[in-house]
Amino acid sequence: MSSELENKLAEEIKSQFPNAEVKVQRKFRISLSIDKESIIEIARYLREIGFDQAVSVSGVDKIKENMFIVVYHIWSTSKKVLASLKTQVPRDNPNLPSLVKIFESVNWHEKETHEMFGINFEGHPDLGRLLLPEGWEGKFPLRKDFVK
């Protein structure tokens, strides 16, 4: 399957954000990696060019590299392309800006990622409990060094 549209989008994003690593994975999928300082800017740009629905936020614990990777999956209902927007934060200082002001739907996804990984989304309206029981303190179940 050809991925003309995906290549064109990747070129466009690359010209706007030379510091981002942009890849076309296959048809319907493009992947962007960027440092956390530019994430707000690139998210805003993505929304402007038609990526209107954020569908998922995932944390990945890269314990060997001492990093958390945070992946936003943002879909375009008009272009039918899914972009994965990746950034990384150090495990001992897991802070990054929240995208909730740009994509309202990441609200619960970020809350869950905070609860499971202890990643702080600065500017998120409410990072309280979502899935874990009340009174659960301090331990983050999806971290690789979690021991019950």
Binding site: F28, S56, H73, S84, L131
Partner: protein
């Protein structure tokens, strides 16, 4: 005026195993805050400890009412990592099972939503008619609810002899029966009055709040993963995306109702086109290092599986973007200004399944 604080659920028959914290002014909802997590099992962590094959029966339990669709998403992500493509016959069988599951899921969801609007007899119509489709699933897989039928490289078993005849017999009956559903329920003035204009979600809000599936299509957004990003054999089958414009509870029920008919027509077409050949190909145990994001359209909407592999036979990370999680998070928006008595109607108009929102 002081607002009244009401904890709606998790024991309320109209809430499912989740809770809504409602602020009421008189009987008007000022604010609704969903509280989920009552059936949280951390399936994402469980999946990290198990091999890909063992993960199938685990992951289908995020949505046991729609189990084939739930496991298919994971299978597709792992197949993408392994770079294998199932044979054509398997792709068609996947479409058939996927649509059977959609019918079961919609019937169950609609049945409960009828009850929430005061129609008690149609609740049992939906539940009883769903049995016919469970029979079909049992004929194919040996089980009625959770089948572990999707396998890496194809499906577990071939379709049995006589399945086509039995399926067509069921559909012939049920297509007529759907007309009765329409007359008795959707054409019923009382039902319309309870649902129309209740829990409205406008086109742009639906996209912004991230809802999916029939809830999104009920707001006039013309999206469906089966068409936008065809998987299995959906590209080779002609069907239309069902949408409604009004974005209220009635529109969402109508989308589900019409999708049942469309699903039966998809299965008929798939059975006619069903190619001969193997139903499964060999799949390796290990996945190479990498990541994949697969999307499938389940009864409640899109399920996204983000699978990261580190080169072993187990996934390094599985993230499930579940449809009910996304739809429930939009409930506060739909409930603002609604009557307390309409709260169950709005909840069930999105067909929530707390097991997949909590995982």
């Amino acid at each position: 005026m002081a607002t009244l604080h009401v904890s709606f659920g998790p024991q309320h028959p109209g809430s499912g195993p989740m809770r809504l914290i409602l602020d009421l002014d008189g009987d008007i909802v000022v604010k609704a805050v969903p509280d989920i997590g009552y059936v949280h099992r951390n399936i994402e962590k469980i999946a990290e400890k198990r091999s890909h094959i063992v993960n199938v029966p685990v992951l289908e339990r995020i949505s046991n009412i729609d189990s084939f669709n739930a496991s298919l998403g994971y299978i597709m992500a792992v197949e993408e990592l392994m770079n294998i493509t199932p044979p054509p016959r398997a792709q068609f069988i996947r479409v058939i099972m996927s649509e059977l599951n959609r019918i079961m899921s919609h019937l169950y969801g609609l049945a409960i939503s009828f009850e929430s609007s005061g129609l008690l007899a149609p609740l049992y119509w939906g539940i009883a008619d769903r049995e016919l489709f469970l029979d079909l699933a049992e004929m194919v897989t040996g089980s009625r609810i959770t089948y572990t039928y999707a396998m890496l490289g194809g499906v577990r078993e071939d379709l049995p002899n006589g399945f086509k005849d039995q399926a067509i017999k069921t559909f012939n009956y049920f297509e007529k029966r759907l007309d009765e559903y329409y007359d008795m329920i959707f054409g019923n003035k009382t039902y319309q009055m309870r649902l129309k204009g209740v829990g409205v979600l406008k086109h742009d809000d639906a996209i912004k709040l991230g809802v999916t599936g029939p809830t999104l299509r009920g707001s006039g957004v013309n999206v469906d993963v089966r068409v936008d990003e065809p998987y299995a054999a959906y590209e080779q089958i002609d069907f239309k995306i069902i949408t409604e414009e009004t974005g209220d509870s009635f529109a969402r029920a109508m989308v589900r109702f019409n999708e049942i008919r469309e699903s039966m027509s998809i299965i008929r077409k798939a059975l006619d086109k069903l190619p001969e050949g193997p139903f499964r190909e060999r799949a390796p145990f290990r996945t190479p290092e990498g990541e994949a994001y697969s999307r499938i359209e389940s009864g409640r909407g899109e399920i996204g599986y983000y699978v990261v592999s580190d080169g072993t036979d187990k996934p390094y990370r599985v993230k499930i973007s579940a449809p009910s999680f996304r739809n429930i998070s939009a409930l506060p928006h739909m409930m603002k200004g609604a009557h307390m008595a309409d709260v169950p109607i709005i909840i069930f108009s999105t067909d929530p399944w707390p097991f997949d929102s909590d995982r």
